[in-house]
Amino acid sequence: MITLTSLANGLCRLLMSTILFMVAGCAVTPNSGDVEAVAEFVQVNDPFEPTNRSIFEANRALDGAVLKPAATAYKMVAPEFIQTRVSNILSNLRSPVIFANDVLQGEFKRAALTFLRFFINSTIGVGGMNDMATAMEIEGHDEDFGQTLAVWGVSEGPFVMLPVFGPSNPRDTVGMVVDFFTDPLRLWASNSERNYVPFLRAGVDAVDIRSRNLETLDDLEKSSLDFYAAIRSLYRQRRADAISNGQGAAAVPAPGLGQLPGVPTLEAADELSRRK
């Protein structure tokens, strides 16, 4: 386990230095005299921000030209019945990867549930079309190798905006690559000369995910002042949530009545019931 962790850490570092080499534009480090500004710079952890922002703009242009129209059309044209089945098939196909990562994280109960879901949905769910397992109250969850690395203690590293793939970091990028190469479906496809399968699946997957996030992303873009900063924050929070399997809410700061770190506290100004 230790060697695997150090191997993964090494991979992350290699990737980081590659990125560093590629990146011309780096964010300006604040004056070391301004302690708060330095703390903020470290916390934002986005040393390649200028480059990341230009990649983000390119990704948005690509999204606006290809993915968003495709997802919008799919959502409009395909009946909801079909959309649900497509979504179910895709998530059933992810099961082997989820199972492997459950095991690698030592989550044997969750691994058993993933296995059971895959078995039920592939058989009586007819090739994953119908999510019979959820109907039987065996709820699904997601895992990936980026999360496994996090559980093993690999830190995320700086924020990175990948071309096409979007927000990430060295740890999750390594995770994505490992998941791709170890996916049994891909191995089967490449061994049986069906090399188009992973691409077809990635395409359908992208359209499916995008179609389910149309409103969310439009809303975020509408209400945020700096869409890039909002996406960066959203990505980190979602990953932290995924790594903690949805149990991490307390560790997150919020506005407050208490002294929870990073949590809003109820201030005197709000203690009067305000009516206008």
Binding site: A37, L225, G246, G248, L257, L266, E267, E271, S273, K276
Partner: protein
């Protein structure tokens, strides 16, 4: 026999005393009250803000009243501004808070029209300290779409309850806003005035819709 009964009664008496003195009893009160607060808040919001016939200005008015009554708007606003709160002048703070409230109102008011028929199910409640609880809920949507995971952070001073944060699928509203605003301020040379200017433009743009 009698003696034994007396002994049992004494034991159960002591047990009861110990139990009522232990904090879980108090904590569960905070958790129960916070859960009840969220349940009634969402029921009220969904029934009054999804009314189809109300025009947008009317809905905005209604939403503003509900938002101020049930959300710790000033506390959230102050938290979102983070370290820049101390740098802002009294005047800037006042204008920022007003604009922050406006931004929340105009960006969220139209969303409620899509929430008709949705149901909130409280899954569990967890006390974070004596005055704060997190309520874990699932919002179930009609038509079998996947339920949305929403956690509510509720603060109380003992009598009133207010929402401090809404965490949708792991994404905290306050933290996302905080990063967004901090980034704008940094890009405006560390000036809160720069953020206020952007907020003015954004709210005006959203109001016009």
């Amino acid at each position: 026999m009698l003696k034994r009964r007396g002994f049992l009664a004494a034991i159960s008496g002591v047990a009861l005393l110990v139990m009522s003195a232990a904090s879980p009893v108090l904590a569960s009160k905070l958790e129960d009250k916070s859960s009840a607060f969220i349940t009634s808040l969402t029921e009220k919001a969904i029934s009054s803000l999804t009314a189809e016939n109300a025009d947008r200005n009317q809905r905005i008015k209604l939403f503003r009243a509900m938002f101020n009554e049930n959300f710790a708007v000033r506390s959230i606003g102050k938290f979102v501004l983070g370290r820049y709160w101390n740098r802002a002048s009294e005047e800037e703070r006042r204008e920022y808070q007003a604009l922050f409230e406006d931004l929340m109102i105009v960006s969220y008011v139209d969303r409620f029209t899509q929430y008709a028929g949705e149901k909130l199910r409280v899954q569990k409640a967890r006390g974070e300290n004596e005055t704060t609880a997190t309520i874990f809920t699932l919002i179930e949507r009609p038509g079998g779409a996947k339920a949305i995971r929403v956690n509510w952070r509720v603060g109380t001073n003992g009598t009133i309850f207010k929402v401090l944060d809404v965490i949708v699928e792991g994404t905290s509203m306050s933290i996302t806003l905080k990063s967004d605003f901090a980034s704008i301020i940094r890009r405006k040379g560390g000036k809160v005035a720069g953020l206020i200017e952007e907020l003015r433009t954004k709210t005006a743009e959203l109001k016009a819709k």
